[in-house]
Symmetry: C2
Subunit: 320 residues, 2 copies
């Protein structure tokens, strides 16, 4: 199968032209008509086999995840996703893989009403690069830089399951059937918090998505906002599967696990009701896990409010 047949069979679909997309796949570029009063938001993530996914992953879950991690970046800015491009390097044309991959990809795209407008396919070591483009009313995007001393700190969903699943795959931990399937789903099918991000526009003071681990990503938010934070370890939301692990494993998975794709955000204490309403409106679990401090640095507090040493660092693709 040639490159153009491959695109036509698996990735070219009839799309509704008009609202945003004036021209999709098939020319040198796609054409969009930006709307007045909105800002365009753009993010780009690349997935490499063995680093971002295991070779054993089901193709439809890989298609889902490749788009999900990108949508998570738009979610962290409170953007409404609109379109995306896909560049795909494949070792060979494997129709079973392409059928599953495109199915998982478009299922998530359809769930968010977004359109694949172009991209590239080539032979090469398996590599997936997606660029997503979204919109938000001018000035409303959630940034990492808006946290202020006194704000509450929140996180969506539950932390650490993706890392727990990875350690099971690595043979370092054991989990029984149903629990394994559950944490495996967290690792392979993360749900981007797009609805929550949009509901937090005008409510949250800052936000970031958790891809490198809570401590690492919180560090980015604190640095951008020029503030510090206190984190209540007992408050960190986690699954029953993770709760069954030793405390040290629990903390490592939740603090430095990575691959969570949950939203970490701050909001003024006066906005607690608004945060609760955003959680309800988006049907998303939201947990208050700490607060923003004037003093730089991060303080980890145990159940008695005592500071614990910070000996766990965030995940960095070139360090680990």
């Amino acid at each position: 199968m040639g490159e153009f047949d491959l695109i036509k069979r698996y990735f070219k679909r009839d799309i509704a032209l008009g609202a945003t997309v004036d021209l999709g796949i098939g020319d040198d570029c796609a054409l969009l008509s930006p709307s007045p009063g909105v800002q365009t938001l753009i993010s780009c993530d690349m997935l490499v086999e063995g680093r971002h996914f295991l070779s054993t992953v089901q193709p439809d879950r890989l298609g889902h995840k490749a788009l999900a991690v990108n949508l998570s970046d738009l979610a962290a800015c409170g953007a409404t996703p609109r379109v995306f491009t896909l560049a795909l390097a494949l070792p060979k044309v494997d129709e079973g893989f392409l059928e599953g991959f495109s199915r998982g990809l478009f299922a998530l795209a359809d769930a968010h009403g977004i359109t694949l407008i172009g991209g590239d396919t080539t032979a090469g070591p398996l590599n997936i690069c997606i660029t997503v483009i979204g919109e938000a009313p001018t000035g409303s995007a959630l940034l990492r830089s808006g946290a202020r001393a006194g704000d509450d700190l929140y996180v969506s969903g539950r932390l650490g399951d993706a890392r727990l699943a990875l350690e099971v795959f690595r043979g370092k931990l054991n989990l029984l059937g149903e629990q394994f399937e559950q944490v495996r789903l967290a690792m392979e099918c993360p749900q981007p918090r797009v609805a929550l991000g949009q509901a937090l526009r005008g409510v949250a003071s800052s936000a970031i998505d958790l891809s490198d681990g809570l401590i690492g990503d919180l560090g980015h938010l604190l640095q951008a906002s020029k503030v510090g934070a206190s984190l209540a370890l007992e408050a960190l939301p986690h699954s029953a599967a993770l709760a069954g692990q030793p405390l040290a494993i629990q903390r490592e998975c939740m603090l430095a696990g990575g691959d969570d794709y949950e939203l970490l955000f701050s909001a003024p204490t006066a906005a607690r009701t608004a945060v609760r309403n955003a959680a309800i409106a988006s049907a998303t679990l939201v947990t208050r896990i700490g607060s923003i401090d004037q003093a730089f640095g991060l303080r980890l507090l145990d159940g008695q409010g005592q500071a614990l040493p910070l000996s766990l660092a965030g995940f960095d693709h070139f360090k680990s």
Copy 2:
């Protein structure tokens, strides 16, 4: 060196916020303010070692080429480039490579006044994925679908040198020093025809950039426009280096060579003066090489206007 240090050292630069870019590298997304009355144009290309470039290429030339092949897509639509994202998978952190790569990348970006607004870096087999975003006044973009019977067919620059260089690298052909350096430059440092593309807005009836070879890409244009064409082989522009090769090699390089990154476009015969003015305004060689026919298919004509058999096909990443 970690991922964030790598980005900070080689890819994060002070950028002028305002006109188009409201926020660049450093948050989950970049923020742009689209202007009313314009369309946004987006294109995405991925480069893989051994397929799109040789491992022996100088890093600065690779940085140039990775952006150039993307700008060429914007050029083919007549767009004004604005911003781009870069996703980079690297086998290891090689500072010499990164210094050269980023230097070549930004030299071309600066020449076109465009800004790197975000992206991703990760460990993995060397892979470069760039997404470029440009603008054109609403309705003015050059598409593949606008060619009409009777239009002239033009090409920019000279054809076939990149393929000639590749065959020398493969040891299948020989070239002496200066000629080799010249065709090697065509292969490693293609010049995207951005100025010509913009000058052709309102003049050309259709356009495409040549990446897969003249016959293959012309086929895409003819298919999109639902027309055929006649191509005058004697008119195809080529270098002195290519002219020194046997006729069969010349034709293979020019017709099916690939990697030219020249513009192929059509324009009504009444626009011949306008095409010449666009070539002069953009200081770009433009050659009339044939015409668009009502009848489907492609006819190759020799110097006496006689039809030749079409036995050469365009380059396809999954076929060759």
